[in-house]
Amino acid sequence: VNGLFLTDLSVVCMHTDPMLRLVLLVQSATPTAINLSVITTMHNYLAKEMATVLFYQYLLAIVSLTINVSLFLYAIPLL
């Protein structure tokens, strides 16, 4: 994705920030928010179930994030 922008001095060819793409992609790969446990604990509603789901997610996230982020870094220049 290219675009032309006129700065003070010259015409510069610009790309999308790879960091922006990385952040966009990482947002889709993270495990469930821990904040949800705050809400469930506050209401005493399925707090234990939420904690269980979170525990396994963060355990598995070690593997899944590694795989996903490698995939993302491979994909970012191609997108």
Binding site: T7, V12, C13, M19, S28, I34, T41
Partner: protein
Amino acid sequence: MEQIIWASAQASIKITVMGGCGAALSRLSLLDKPTSSRISRLLASFLIPCMLFVSITPNMSWQNLVVYWLLPVALLVYTLVGIVCGFVVALLANVDRDMYRFVVIACSFGNTTSLPLALITSLAVTSANLSNTMGFYPIKDGLPIEDTPEQSLARGVAYVFIVLLVATLTRWTFLYRFLVPANHNPDAPDGPAAQKLVANPGDEVELRDVVDDTDEQCGSIYNDRNMITNYCLDDLSDDEQDDEQFVDQPKLHQLPTAPANRHDADNIILELGSGRPVSHIDRPFIAPVTVADTSRTPPTYSLKQQHPTTDNTTQLQLQSPLPPSPTPSSTTPTATPTTSRTMRVLVAIKNFICGIEVPAWAALVSVICGLIPSVRYILFESPAGYFKFFTDALTAFGDSVVPMTLLTLGVSMSEGPKPTAKLGLCTTLLILVTRLFVIPLFGILFLYLLGLASMLPLGLSSLINQPEHGDVLSL
């Protein structure tokens, strides 16, 4: 490659260890469920708002919001996809009806801040290399410059906090209502108020059920103390025909806990009308007796004595139609419709406020502060640092969000992370696979489609806020 493994492993293990501490403390009975529930309330009403303010405000500006509109939109798209996937998972796993919401939400709301920050911190060098090989040049002072890891990380942090803003707003408005069903009694299973029920069996249960049923606009169970008087205004202005039923309140208070008929329920609501909504959670806000109640006898009016301190004007409005009476049984309400228009406006405003939780308000306030350059400059960027005491205090409180959250998480997990009867192994596995493997694939697809449509924003300016001295001086 090792970098990535290291980063994600560190972040996840840190969370596990901190949660383990919570579980250990719970085993040592230093922490228990009521305490952790109370900590959660503290988090939601104070610590998380502090954290949001100090993290969102310095990273916000019009430029960021306009140029990087894609970040919030992407988060919303991921959430929607998560909701759809969650429904599919719930159908596949054939869960109970009351677990549907849980499964849907576990699939759709990801960790938006701590984990992405940990990852981009360790990937800053990689990202800067990518910039240079792909030909992305951030502009600083009007000139394109070579990307450095520091520059890259600073941009990444700003991106993450833009996402955090939207995530907070969706979490504490939509999700908050959606996750916990409106008729759920938060103290029922093993809540902190279990003892309270024993101590005061009659009224507590009764009132709670009634309010949960009738509470339509203010479905939120947890209320900020400012929002509490809403019920009173509502009742006084709208339910005038019910006023006659005020007369026999004291007796109604002593009704047994069996499900009441609607007539009784209305009476009790009116009783509440001059008092507080039964927000079971905010005991910390409970304050001493108000003027109208001083003449009443404690046992019959135990609930009335738990009025929260609300602002004085509202309190006066509430009490004027209900003059103090010598004996409880002769309470004669004389609510008049004279102030009804202002009342209605107030009710409308209060209902609106009532729908938003404290963290969402904090997010809104931080955006507003961040979007006004002079405010942002004075608070966070001024070299003189007159408000450093303020921001430092908020930062200190905000820093405690993660440890506190993880401790409460540990307490919930203290009996061992075994899938319970409600949440089978199959459901857990399906949620895991969906959240961690299916939605990321969608993320790549989404970005690919955006690229095809040429809708990815281009890096046309430096995202890092530069102190805008001009604006401040011109004030």
